[in-house]
């Protein structure tokens, strides 16, 4: 590559981003320090808060990887100008694997089944092969699976980043075909990994509860929120002038359409899961929703119905809304916040349920008086904020660092002209 083309390759310049990288780093460092202190003071709360923040980052990265895979599998044109952002978000998986370690170490404080003695719960004994950590065994299978999920996510994300960046250098179109062929084979692994991650670290919070839809549900939230993240990042870069003449309002329109589609998809999946359990009314399944409709948690449930579905749905339904950067930005903010609350709604009630069970001795005793666990309350904690700032701050900082390393969009992708000239 000649000296001149080096100058023309559009790259993200952290120096121009003002205090943003420092802000991310500062928030991340403070947040992680706070969480660390939290592990000393209130370890249980810290463990739950940290899991929540971690899963948030995980779903955003996994969702971004999904969009990369989808782009290649369907041989799409339009994604090219924004694909680098997806690759870079997904490329954070190696760091995410490091951030996963605290979850591993704090798992016995989160997952009730790790502290139940074998032989006391017939249902747990039945699935002890699958949930084999803590007192049910050494956890070879449980943590071994996690190793494979992360190995896949890291491997796939790194490969795509590598090939895509390599194409920046020589514009080799064979790489496009190679990445496409890889995508076909990776999709089944992606599905298996995200499903079983969702089973192992979210569904297993309550080891009695089960839902065949669970993997799809977590996937729907990931895909939706990572599309929102992509819109935010790409529009920020566009506004900063990095994508002049490359990204246009047409890209916003198409991303807005996908965000809208996945908002509806999330609602469809979530409604179906809730509705089938509600309608059949089998106690061992309804508990999940019963807990989350107790006391102040039901307000959060209501907020999710309106905020996670209705609000973005109404914000995005018209065509001008999808093309108007400002309204799109608001919708993305809503989606990203609601996804956070959705995960909060999934994870946090379990802490109080566990505590209530320990206090009362059994589920029957805990609900004996009123039919529900009275101590369930929406109780935000300062450690929630610390963990969230810590994980998001660090990931944001790493993202900006990694974004600065290569061209901000795949400059020599053979489909780039088609993407630039996108018309809806």
């Amino acid at each position: 590559m000649s000296e001149t083309s080096h100058k023309t390759i559009p790259k993200f310049d952290p120096a121009k981003a003002g205090n943003l990288p420092k802000l991310f780093l500062g928030a991340g460092a403070l947040g992680l320090l706070g969480t660390l202190a939290g592990f000393a003071v209130a370890p249980k709360q810290a463990a739950f808060s940290y899991l929540w923040a971690f899963v948030y980052a995980f779903t955003l990265c996994a969702g971004s990887l999904f969009w990369v895979l989808l782009h290649h599998a369907v041989d799409a044109d339009w994604t090219v100008v924004v694909r680098r952002f997806l690759e870079k978000v997904a490329g954070l998986f190696p760091y995410l694997a490091l951030l996963f370690l605290p979850v591993v170490f704090s798992a016995p404080m989160i997952y009730e089944w790790m502290t139940v003695d074998p032989g006391t719960d017939v249902l747990l004994d039945h699935k002890a092969v699958f949930l084999d950590g803590g007192r049910n065994g050494a956890g070879f299978f449980y943590y071994g699976r996690a190793f494979f999920y992360f190995a896949f996510f890291m491997g796939a994300a790194t490969l795509y980043k590598k090939f895509s960046v390599a194409q920046d250098a020589d514009g080799n179109p064979h790489l496009t075909n190679k990445m496409r062929h890889m995508a076909y084979g990776m999709i089944p692994f992606f599905a298996a990994s995200i499903t079983f991650f969702a089973f192992d670290y979210l569904m297993a919070l309550d080891y009695h509860w089960f839902s065949t839809m669970w993997g799809v549900y977590i996937f729907a939230g990931s895909a939706q929120s990572s599309m929102a993240l992509l819109i935010v990042i790409s529009n920020a870069c566009r506004r900063a002038g990095y994508l002049d003449g490359v990204m246009s309002v047409e890209h916003n329109h198409i991303m807005g359409k996908l965000l809208f589609a996945f908002t509806v998809f999330w609602a469809y999946i979530t409604f179906s899961q809730y509705f089938l359990i509600y309608y059949a009314n089998i106690p061992e399944e309804t508990w999940f929703f019963h807990h989350r409709n107790t006391n102040s948690w039901q307000w959060l449930s209501a907020v999710l119905v309106f905020g996670h579905f209705l609000l973005p749905f109404c914000l995005l339904i018209t065509q001008p809304a999808k093309r108007d950067g400002r309204r799109l930005f608001w919708a993305c903010g809503v989606v990203l916040t609601m996804h956070l609350l959705d995960l909060y709604w999934i994870i946090m009630p379990q802490k109080q349920i566990n505590e209530a069970l320990h206090a009362a001795g059994s589920l029957q005793a805990a609900v004996a008086k009123t039919g529900s666990i009275e101590s369930l309350h929406l109780a935000p904690h300062i450690l929630d904020l610390c963990s969230l700032l810590g994980v998001v701050g660090i990931m944001g900082w790493l993202f900006l660092k990694s974004l600065a390393q290569d061209a901000i969009y795949p400059v020599r992708d053979p489909r780039l002209p088609n993407s630039i000239n996108l018309k809806n």
Partner: protein, 489 residues
Amino acid sequence: MAHGTAPLFEPHPDLHVVERAPLVLNGRSMGWITEHVSQIVEQRAKSWWWWAVMITGFVACLVPLALAYLVSTGVGVWGNNQPVSWAWDITNFVFWIGIGHAGTLISAILFLTRQKWRTSINRSAEAMTIFAVICAAIFPVFHVGRIWFAWFLFPIPNSNVIWQNFRSPLLWDVFAVSTYFTVSLLFWYVGLVPDLATIRDRATTKLRKVVYGALALGWRGSNRNWRHYEKAYLVLAGISTPLVLSVHSVVSFDFATSVIPGWHTTIFPPYFVAGAIFGGFAMVLTLLIPARALYGLHDLITDKHIDNMCKIVLLTGTIVGYAYMMELFIAWYSGNPFEQWVFFRNRIAAPGFSDQPAPYWWAYWSMIGCNVIAPQFFWFKFCRQHAVVVWIIVQFPNIGMWFERFVIIATSLHRDYVPSSWGYFTPTITDILLFVGTIGLFVFLFLLFVRFLPMITIFEVKAVLPEADPHHDHGGHGHAKEPQAAQGH
């Protein structure tokens, strides 16, 4: 544009490897497309068509015969009885309604995602949808037993103030299926109008001019009309997409809202939808591959189209496999002995692997073999590129998707909690003849369709030709296309 005036880079010499196959082969002109598609409707039918129509028409006669026997005698002429009180009727209903979903998927979802290759296949796929829904509707309507009370299904004011139970999934079915049929028919007809105008404008006989002229509604290709037309088509596509999801989700609610092990599982809605699209695409391929060969439409329905459809069959087949695995896994993970009984003792247990084989083990393993294993052949390019091989492979999903519904229904019902009430379902001759009759009816209607209506969307295919782009003669999409234009042309 950054790339506009001075491209950053020289185009790579191998750029041709990512060039896409054209949607219409051999550079066919608009006139050729009009002529080639319209002449199927205009020329005298070939002798194979007469033979096929007579045979399928004869088979289709089984439907009224079997139904007349059923209405005059009672639903007992079908084999379903306690404990298997839903059997072939509901299996066939779900089978047919599922077939229809590919049509809506192609016409709506592929339209919204701007998949231009859909244009050559959407018309016949939508026709298939309508005929499949007709076949499907026969079964539940006659399953009500006293067909003369079928109006009870609809909210019609009556002197007894008897209303429908709106909390019942079966009533949702009535709304979902009738909406689906109506909207599919309207969507299909709206798409047909410009092509009916083509036939009208080419008509040489008075009868054809009057009939197609009336059907074409006076369409004259006015851009002021196209403007609203395109918007209407977009809206219809936009509502058909959630509609197609909802229809099979509601069908799945028939099962999943119950507490019957094997039926009650939360993944049913998306799993049914994926299965429906899977079976539907298999049926589209089943019909289009012979039609393409018989009418010489290889330039319009290209190998690329077949290839794409094979990939969708592979994808949806694998999603269905994912759902099977989820069901199995959760049946085990839940620790619920009744769930486990249905999956492991009523379905999977094959002779040789279990000393108490499941009575319907063959149905379960046919389903797995046809729906999960067979589509995996489409990983190989060879299998996607030879029409005969494709046609043979897609027969497996056609069969497998029927077995899937049979497995869901019969194996969950036939051996429940109390062994004294166990049973085994065997179809009667009426069951079989009615199902065969609907196959005949389906193909019969499709044959009439290819004869009397343009089976390829003429105007949409023209719109995807390179010369349909109003900037075609002015050097492509502005300057940014240069790197590719230098290589491509």
